[in-house]
Symmetry: C2
Subunit: 101 residues, 2 copies
């Protein structure tokens, strides 16, 4: 399992376009990547421009495949117009304990 937490901020005023881009991206991942087990965009309730993406891949190959897709390349072009590239924080995580059911 390969877990990633990606965080970044929406450019103020671009909320609607950003939401559309995230919905399109999530739909692409769901339909085209069998190795993506969890892929969820969230907003912070108290700070709605702050986005957190929770990603779980079956393995490193599935994570690498995700990064190589054409829709990931398209999504990267939104950093600048829709999302602030200066705010991007990506953490690779390792599970210590817990469950999902």
């Amino acid at each position: 399992m390969n877990t990633i937490l990606a965080q970044f901020r929406i450019i103020p005023g671009k909320e609607a376009e950003a939401e559309e881009a995230m919905k399109t991206m999530a739909a692409s991942v769901e339909s085209k990547e069998s190795g993506a087990r969890t892929y969820i965009f969230h907003r912070n309730l108290k700070d709605p421009l702050a986005v957190s993406v929770w990603e779980i891949y079956a393995d490193d190959a599935a994570s690498a495949a995700h990064r190589a897709t054409e829709y990931m390349a398209a999504f990267r072009t939104y950093f600048g117009p829709l999302f602030d590239p200066e705010t991007v924080k990506i953490e690779r995580l390792e599970r210590i304990a817990g469950f999902s059911r």
Copy 2:
């Protein structure tokens, strides 16, 4: 659904005790809270003292019930001896798009 991302840091040198505390906590949540759907402690691979907890509850009542348990009260006492209370960041999140399968 009620999603929470909690982040904090382990006190240097307390890794083993901290891991034990997190394993015990996760086991308690799994066995005693039917309203807890996901509850996972992680370490950052590049910065192993940095902990991220991903929590999903069925609703606000399940989240409130979690915070009121005796084992949550016990876990809070570790902030100081095992975890740095100055580093705690808790975000309540709302899903924009995505899936888990």
